[in-house]
Symmetry: C2
Subunit: 409 residues, 2 copies
C-alpha cells in the first residue's frame, strides 16, 4: 500500500517543472495517497528534513491552477550528485532513515540527467539493502537531452519562448531596413546539445522569413565559413538574424566564447561560463566588416517564461508525473516516466516508464540527419518533431497587470 509519498525538484528549472509535481500530486490523491510531501531544495533539503505537506497548498484548486502557471521550482531545486556507495555510505543511510521516519513509501524526483542518476542510485541502494521504498524519475529539462522519452517536459515551452522571441526580434531587426545591414546574433542555451537552438527554426512561416542560419554544438563551428556566410547574406538582405547555441566550438573543441575576452570564461565553481558566444561573434563581425551588429542572449529568460508556456508541454508534464505515480502503484521502481509519440497528425502520445539504468547519464543529441549543414537550417524532420510540442497556451492569471504566481510560505 502506498500511503505516503514525497516529490522533489532538481537541476535547472523550467517553465513547467511545477506541472510535473502538479501531476504527481493530483494522481496520487486520486489513487488515495494520504500524504504527498514535497522536499524543499531537492535531496539536499530532504537531508535537512526540509519537508512540507503539499495538501497545505494544493487542496485549493485555485492554488493548483496557479502552480501550473508558476515558473521555476516551486519547491526549490538543488544540484547534488549522490556519491558512490563505497565512497559515502552515510548519506544513503541518512536518506533511508528520513524516509522511514516519515513513513514514505515512494520518492519521485523531477529533473534531467543528474537527477535521474539520483533515482538510479537510490533504487540500486534499496535493492542491495532490502529497502522497501520505491523510486521513480519524472523527466524535466529544457535541454531535451534525456534518452528513450520522445522529448522532455520543459522543452516545448522553452522553444515556444525561443521561437516567439525570435519572431519578435526578427521584426525589430528588420525595421531599419533602408540603410546599412544589421547583423543580429541570438544566443540560446545548450552546452552539448543544440535542441533549444533548433527551436529558432520554428519562427519561419507565412508571416516570418525565419532566421538566416542556425549553428549547433553538434557540428564543429568554422569561423571562416561563418564570416563568409554573413558576407553573402548582407550582400542580398538588410537584416540578418543568426541563432547560435552557447556551446558552439571549433574543431579543436575550443568554445567560441573563448575567442573573446577571457574575463567571462570561468564561473565561481570553476565551470567555464559559456555565455558570451554571441557577443564574441558580433564583435568579430563588427571589427572585420564595420557592419552594425547586435547580440542577444536569451539566458534564463528562456527557461522561466511560464507566461508563454506551451499547453501541450504543461499537460505532458502533468501526464508524466501521473504516469510515474501509476507505475509506483504497480510496484515499479528504478524507472523514469517517458512520453512516447504515437502519432503526429493528430498528435497523440502514450506515457510509459523505462528502466532508469538506460537513461541516467546518457545524453541525447540532435540527430545529425535533421541538420541541413549546407544551409545551416533544420530539416523538415525536426519541424515535424517540434511543432506539436509548442501548441496551445494556458493563459496566465493576471493580478495588478502581471502574471500571478504561487509562493511557498
Amino acid at each position: 500500500m502506498i500511503k505516503k509519498i514525497i516529490v522533489g525538484q532538481s537541476g535547472g528549472p523550467t517553465a513547467v517543472i511545477n506541472s510535473s509535481i502538479a501531476g504527481v500530486y493530483k494522481k496520487a490523491k486520486e489513487l488515495g495517497v494520504e500524504t504527498v510531501y514535497g522536499m524543499v531544495y531537492g535531496i539536499e533539503g530532504f537531508l535537512k528534513e526540509n519537508i512540507i505537506d503539499l495538501d497545505d497548498y494544493f487542496k485549493d484548486n485555485d492554488n493548483y491552477e496557479l502552480l501550473k502557471r508558476t515558473p521555476s521550482a516551486f519547491l526549490g531545486s538543488c544540484r547534488f550528485k549522490l556519491p558512490k556507495f563505497e565512497d559515502d555510505q552515510a548519506v544513503y543511510e541518512k536518506i533511508f532513515e528520513i524516509l522511514d521516519k516519515y513513513e514514505i513509501d515512494a520518492l519521485f524526483y523531477t529533473g534531467g540527467n543528474d537527477s535521474m542518476d539520483t533515482i538510479k542510485m537510490l533504487a540500486d541502494y534499496a535493492a542491495l539493502n532490502n529497502k522497501r521504498q520505491l523510486f521513480m524519475g519524472v523527466p524535466k529539462t529544457i535541454d531535451n537531452d534525456l534518452p528513450i522519452t520522445d522529448h522532455c517536459p520543459g522543452y516545448g515551452s522553452a522553444i515556444k519562448y525561443v521561437a516567439t522571441s525570435i519572431k519578435e526580434v526578427i521584426r525589430d531587426n528588420a525595421s531599419f531596413g533602408i540603410n546599412k545591414p544589421t547583423v543580429l546574433i541570438v544566443e540560446i542555451m545548450g552546452r552539448h546539445a543544440g535542441w533549444l537552438t533548433c527551436g529558432a527554426a520554428l519562427a519561419k512561416g507565412n508571416d516570418c522569413e525565419g532566421v538566416d542560419a542556425i549553428y549547433l554544438p553538434e557540428e564543429d563551428f568554422d569561423m571562416d565559413e561563418f564570416k563568409a556566410r554573413v558576407n553573402n547574406l548582407v550582400a542580398t538582405k538588410k537584416s540578418v538574424v543568426i541563432a547560435i547555441s552557447e556551446g558552439i566550438h571549433d574543431k579543436d573543441g575550443k568554445f567560441i566564447c573563448e575567442y573573446g575576452d577571457s574575463d567571462r570564461a570561468v564561473d565561481a565553481f570553476g565551470h567555464k561560463q559559456l555565455s558570451g558566444s554571441a557577443v564574441t561573434l558580433a564583435n568579430i563581425i563588427n571589427k572585420e566588416t564595420g557592419l552594425k551588429t547586435r547580440a542577444i542572449e536569451l539566458s534564463t529568460l528562456q527557461r522561466a517564461a511560464t507566461h508563454i508556456a506551451s499547453l501541450t508541454d504543461i499537460e505532458e508534464a502533468e501526464g508524466s508525473g501521473a504516469a510515474a505515480v501509476q507505475a509506483v502503484f504497480e510496484g515499479k521502481t528504478g524507472m523514469m516516466a517517458t512520453i512516447m509519440r504515437v502519432n503526429n497528425n493528430p498528435y497523440t502520445v502514450n506515457y510509459e516508464v523505462y528502466d532508469i539504468h538506460n537513461i541516467a547519464n546518457v545524453e541525447k543529441k540532435v540527430p545529425i540527419e535533421w541538420i541541413d549543414s549546407q544551409n545551416k537550417q533544420m530539416k523538415q524532420e525536426y519541424l515535424d518533431y517540434a511543432r506539436p510540442l509548442i501548441m496551445g497556451e494556458l493563459t496566465p492569471i493576471y493580478e495588478n497587470g502581471l502574471p500571478k504566481h504561487i509562493v511557498r510560505k
Copy 2:
C-alpha cells in the same frame, strides 16, 4: 478639406507603435479621409517615394486586429534627422514636391524626440514658405522621455515585459536557495533616462519579493556603494537580483560598461554601445567575492514583446493616433498628441495636442523625488504612476503555436 494623409514610423520600434498607425488609420477613415498612405522606412523612404496605401491592408478588420498584435514598425522605420533649412534646402523642396504630387494634406509621424524634431522642422518650413500641408506628431517611445505628455505609448508595454520577466527570473534565481548566494544583474535599456529600469519595481507584490536594488542613470553610480550593498545583501539572503539601466555612469560620467573590456565600447557608427554594464558588474562581483553571478540583458526583447503588450498601452497608442487626426481636422499643425492623466483611481486620461516646439529635443527624466536613493528602490509615487500603464492584455492570435503577425507585401 483633408482628403489624403500619410503616416510614418520613425526611431526605435516599440511593442505598440503599430497601434499608433492603427489609430491614425481608423480615425481618418471615420472622418471621411479618402486615402491613408503609409511611408515605408519613415521620411527616408518617403524621399524615395516608397509609399503604400493602407487600405490595401486594413480595410480587412482581421488585418487591423493583427496590426495591433504585430511588434516593431509595420511600415519600417528610420533614423534621419532633417538638416537646418540653411544647410540643405533641397531636401525640404523634395519633401513638399512629393506631398504635392500625392495631393497629401497632412503628415503624421510616430516617434520619440528625433522624430518630433522632424515634425517641428516640417511645420516650420511650411509656415515660412506658405505651404498648405499640416504636420502632426504621434508620441511613441519605450524610453518614456517625451515632455508634456503624462507618458508615452510603448512605455507601458515595455515595463509590463520588464516586470513580468523580472518576476520570472527572480523565481529562477531563487531556485537554488540552499547553497551559496547567487547574484543576478538584469540590464534594462535607457541611455540617459531610467524610466524602463524603474519598471522593475513593479514586480514586487504578494507573490514576489521584488528586486533588491535599482540603479538608474539619473544618479551617479558609486562602485564602492554597489559592492557594499551586494555584500550586505548576500549576508542575509541567498538570491540577490539587481536591476540596472544600461546607461549608469560614475560621477565623472564614465559609463559602467566601460569598466569592462573595451571591445564592446564602440559600434559601427562610432557610438558607444552601452550594453555590457550587467556583465561588467557581474564579473567584478564574481572576481572580488567569488560569488556566483549571472547577467541578463533584456536588450531589444523588451521593445519587441508584443505578445505580452499592455492593453492600456495599445488603446492609448490608438487614442493618440486618433487625437492627432482629430487635431488636423481642426486645422492644427506643428503639434504632438499628448496623453493627459485625469484620474488615477479609476485611471482615466484625456487626449490633447501640444505645440511641438516645447517637445522636440527636450528629454524628460525620472523625477529625483520618486527615487529612494538610500534603499535603491522606487517610491510609491512611481508605482502609482506606472501601475495603470501595464493593466490589461490583448491576447495574441496564435497560428502554429506562435503569435501571428502581419507583414508588408
